[in-house]
């Protein structure tokens, strides 16, 4: 089977499972909702203030919510020794990683799309810069979180208390991506500067870490 | 001059950190020594 065929079939399977159970989506959505509501009570910002703080709030909320989906990426495959089956099969493992990362990407993007209107309503958001630019920032930023997240979820499979291990590994490494996402969003919302540099940084981050993940994933999968 | 206190604080902190790490190493060393002793006592039974 070709790279694309394996990716497609694994991805389709994961999406079908998620569509039927909606476990990760529901958990993420509930978590995100909670963050939005609690922060809006805690700060009760004016439109001017929220332009400055919303970038940070949105992405931190998404980051924490994404960990829910990331943590169960591989746990599901452990149950019936699916990963062992994968290890002995002749199929290359990069498409498996790609499928998992794409699956998480789709889940997290869905959550972002559902939460965006809530954020706009609760924080009285109105972008002063070109709002369409938020779209590439969201896509690139989400991929940055998800590609490393999927990878480190696989890394933490080998550890005790793996649910704690994932954020411990992922968050420090994601700081530049997070900084770029937050500052790009703030730049667009306040319309004061151009987010160009931050988008370029995100692209560099995505390219570097996607390559690194694809190159080293086999070692992680084989390691047991 | 007040700022000299900051100087002393910084130097003291540096040595406190290095000292703490060395203490941790010392404790690990003691632990390994204990394990070795224990193993030696256990190994009196012939292997194989």
């Amino acid at each position: 089977m070709s790279f694309l065929a394996i990716t497609r079939s694994t991805l389709a399977k994961d999406i079908r499972i998620e569509w039927r159970s909606k476990d990760a989506l529901n958990a993420m959505l509930f978590f995100g909702l909670l963050v939005v509501v609690i922060f809006s009570f805690a700060f009760d910002p004016t439109a001017e203030e929220s332009r400055r703080i919303a970038g940070g709030l949105i992405w931190v909320a998404i980051l924490f919510a994404a960990v829910v989906a990331l943590n169960q990426t591989w746990a599901r495959e452990l149950r019936n020794q699916v990963l062992d089956g994968y290890r002995v099969s002749a199929a290359p493992c990069t498409p498996l990683f790609m499928a998992k990362a794409l699956g998480n990407f789709i889940f997290v993007i869905t959550i972002e799309a559902l939460m965006a209107p809530l954020f706009i309503a609760f924080y009285k958001l109105r972008a002063l810069g070109p709002a369409w630019e938020l779209l590439p920032v969201a896509l690139l930023g989400t991929w940055a979180l998800v590609v490393n997240g999927t990878f480190f979820a696989a890394v933490s499979l080998r550890t005790r208390s793996r649910e704690i291990m994932l954020p411990l590994l992922l968050f420090p490494l994601s700081i530049p991506a997070l900084l770029a996402m937050v500052n790009a969003t703030t730049a667009i919302l306040s319309g004061e500067e151009s987010p160009r540099f931050w988008v370029a940084l995100l692209i560099a981050y995505d390219v570097i870490f996607t390559t690194a993940c694809l190159l080293t994933f086999e070692m992680i999968l084989e390691a047991e | 001059m007040n700022s000299i206190r900051y100087l002393y604080a910084a130097y003291a902190a540096t040595w406190a950190i290095h000292g703490t790490y060395l203490l941790i190493l010392l404790r690990r060393y003691a632990q390994i020594r204990r394990d070795m002793q224990r193993l030696k006592r256990g190994e009196r039974q012939p292997l194989a």
Partner: protein, 228 residues
């Protein structure tokens, strides 16, 4: 080998006392900052040493992945651990210097201090991973994570660099070229701290070798007990 260790220990002790004297007494007092500037003689050499150790960690991780050599793995572990210790010194002395000079403990826009903090976090998580995972494949996983951490460093640096140009931050004190004598004192201190790092790394290396031997013997013992 034991003699070498003793020799290095004595050398480190002498160098450190000499460097301390140079830093506190011999070095000229800085005009604008006064005596606080002397923190530099501990702060900067610690930072250079930490960076060097992280570099060694990266090199050892790459070598381990290519050759699967146990020594390289131990070197990677040891350099990361000692690097974190030196990094902690940097992070503690930095704010103690910043407080009287800038008037604030911490400047989020300061590129070097913040990059150091992120570095510290990355290598701390590397050490936690090593602690938490105890399969035979831990070295492989750890080496991969170390390489990811090293890849992250330039990105961190650039992101904070741009962040700073947006938000004006306090100027780095001193500025311009360093006084000749001060540079000498700085180098002496660096040499002393490098010796200290070498000494600690060496001891830690021997400790790790011993620990692995004990673990192995223990595993054998358990196997033997089980088979009886």
């Amino acid at each position: 080998m034991k003699r070498g260790l003793t020799f290095l220990g004595v050398l480190t002790g002498l160098l450190l006392s000499f460097a301390l004297y140079e830093a506190l007494v011999a070095a000229p007092t800085e005009r604008t900052m006064g005596d606080v500037q002397r923190i530099f003689y501990y702060h900067v050499p610690s930072a250079w040493t930490a960076l060097l150790l992280f570099l060694i960690n990266f090199a050892a991780s790459v070598i381990f992945l290519l050759r699967r050599n146990t020594k390289a793995d131990i070197v990677a572990l040891v350099s990361a651990e000692v690097g974190v210790v030196f990094c902690t010194v940097v992070l503690v002395t930095g704010p103690i210097w910043a407080r009287p000079v800038w008037g604030i403990w911490w400047a989020p826009g300061d590129i070097r201090l913040t990059t150091t903090l992120v570095l510290w976090l990355i290598y701390l998580s590397y050490l936690v991973l090593r602690r938490f995972s105890n399969s035979s494949q831990t070295p492989v996983v750890a080496a991969v994570v170390a390489i990811f951490g090293a890849l992250d460093v330039p990105l961190v640096y650039f992101s904070i660099w741009f962040f700073r140009t947006q938000h004006p931050s306090p100027v780095i004190g001193g500025g311009g070229s360093l006084d000749r004598q001060m540079a000498m004192v700085l180098l002496i201190n660096w040499a002393a701290f490098l010796c200290l790092a070498g000494l600690v790394c060496w001891t830690r290396y021997l400790l790790e070798v011993a620990k692995r031997e004990v673990d192995e013997a223990e595993a054998l013992e358990t196997l033997y007990e089980g088979s009886r």
